[in-house]
């Protein structure tokens, strides 16, 4: 046990809290989207401040650790990874707030057909499960779980690629509902972005535990096989 361990535990605790908070923001966005729940959407917007506060707290934790303890090896990698993870989570929070903002701005309930065609239910479920996986992976330093994220992100990317044509098809079919269709299209885009950011988190977990740098590489595909 070193003097640094309590600081690292506190940092991990803040990270896990931020993951849980951002995850719950996304869950609320899902419910608000499917049920046209304006109050829930407003709650997401107001809770964004807590996401930002945690981001700042993690920045401070990392700054203190670096200044006071000169961490090396795995401890250093954890601090560096934490800085990046909190940055990604803050941006996921921004995306959740963005989705809530869209819901508030365009108050029309999405039809089941539109939700189904955009696969919005599945996209929300996948992003929420990615964040749940990352919460567990950070808590338990589980790189096998972290690696599962890459396949899930592929699903989101595939759906995002199809969203253009789906949006065109729906606009032709329902020309009076352009605003609603574009709202749903924007949500798809934001969820795809959330997937990319969650994938970054997986890469940082692997960097922390295994000292492997996966970003910009296709290594995760080989490991998956």
């Amino acid at each position: 046990m070193s003097n640094l361990d309590p600081e690292l535990e506190a940092l991990k605790h803040n990270l896990v809290d931020m993951l849980a908070l951002v995850n719950s923001q996304l869950s609320k966005c899902k419910e608000a989207t499917l049920n046209e729940d304006l109050n829930l959407a407003k709650e997401v917007v107001s809770r964004e401040k807590r996401v930002n506060a945690l981001d700042l707290a993690i920045d401070k934790d990392c700054e203190n650790i670096l200044a006071l303890y000169t961490p090396v090896a795995t401890d250093l990698r954890f601090v560096l990874a934490s800085l990046k993870i909190s940055n990604d989570l803050e941006r996921i929070g921004d995306n959740a707030e963005g989705i809530a903002g869209l819901l508030i701005h365009v108050m029309e309930k999405a039809t089941e057909e539109m939700v189904s065609k955009f696969k919005l239910n599945e996209m929300f479920d996948v992003t929420i499960s990615m964040l749940s996986d990352m919460e567990e992976a950070v808590e338990n330093e589980d790189t096998a779980l972290a690696r599962q994220i890459f396949a899930k992100d592929e699903f989101l990317n595939e759906n995002n690629r199809n969203a253009d044509s789906i949006a065109k098809e729906l606009i032709l079919q329902y020309p009076d509902n352009i605003k609603l269709i574009l709202k749903l299209f924007s949500i798809v885009r934001k969820l795809e972005r959330v997937g990319d950011l969650a994938k970054n988190i997986g890469e940082e977990v692997i960097f922390h535990i295994e000292a492997k740098v996966l970003k910009h590489k296709k290594d995760q595909k080989k490991k998956k096989k």
Partner: protein
């Protein structure tokens, strides 16, 4: 190019087996740090490189130590010449109770150098190369003992440089010094690396990470890991190295 090569070096103090199968190579014009907990053998190993252990009763060595192509334990080797080539700086500054000038000139004089202008030139160059000249040039006839701890240590380095070594061994050279003097010694080591090969034992891991190119971690007589310093301190291969450098033992 490797200037120091050791192969399966084992060392004993009587029955106590203090170094176990140490094999490593040290590149010319590099700084290599030896780290490890007290009693791990790092200073013993350092002293094998210029045979300072020869004076210790009961000391015995096995294996080969090759410096600049020669086995330094071969019978043909003159130890005095070896120690000129492989100089040493100790933890506690140990200037002679002589003037600053005489301290640096001493090695040259006992080698038989009589040319006063040459001696003066070498003294000046050595003091410049140890970053002490500007502080003492007006007082070369003052006693070395009147210098501060940090200055005395740089004087000891100048004394080592005066006899033109190719390798400088340093056994915790800054551990008795204040932070500013330590910083000056570290800056000096970075400069000296251009012309010399330096091997340094240190308990200060931040120092090892700041100044060395490669680091060897010793534990209970074994060399556990030896690698580029940046790799040792970012992702060591051995769990014991990780535990030591993160302060979880030792």
């Amino acid at each position: 190019m490797n200037i120091i090569t050791t192969k399966n070096v084992n060392a004993y103090y009587g029955d106590n087996h203090v170094l176990k199968d140490i094999t490593l190579e040290i590149e010319q014009n590099s700084v290599t740090a030896f780290i490890g907990p007290s009693g791990c053998g790092k200073s013993t190993f350092l002293r094998t490189l210029n045979r300072m252990n020869d004076y210790i009763d009961g000391f015995r060595k096995e294996g080969d130590i090759i410096i600049d192509g020669s086995d330094i334990y071969d019978k043909s080797i003159r130890v005095e010449e070896l120690r000129q080539k492989v100089g040493m700086v100790f933890q506690k500054p140990n200037p002679f109770p002589k003037t600053i000038f005489e301290n640096v000139a001493y090695g040259l004089k006992i080698q038989g150098e009589k040319d006063k202008s040459k001696i003066a030139h070498v003294v000046e160059e050595s003091l410049k190369n140890s970053a002490l000249w500007d502080e003492v040039k007006e007082n070369l006839n003052k006693s070395a003992l009147s210098l501060s701890g940090g200055q005395q240590q740089r004087l000891c380095i100048a004394r080592t440089l005066a006899v033109q070594p190719s390798i400088i061994l340093m056994d915790e050279p800054a551990s008795a010094l204040d932070p500013i003097s330590t910083a000056k010694i570290e800056e000096l080591i970075a400069q000296l690396k251009e012309d010399y090969t330096i091997v340094i034992v240190t308990h200060n891991m931040q120092q090892a990470s700041r100044i060395s190119d490669k680091t060897a971690f010793f534990y209970m007589g074994d060399m556990i890991e030896y690698d580029k310093t940046k790799d040792i301190f970012t992702h060591p291969k051995n769990e014991r190295t990780e535990n030591y450098i993160t302060g979880r033992f030792g």
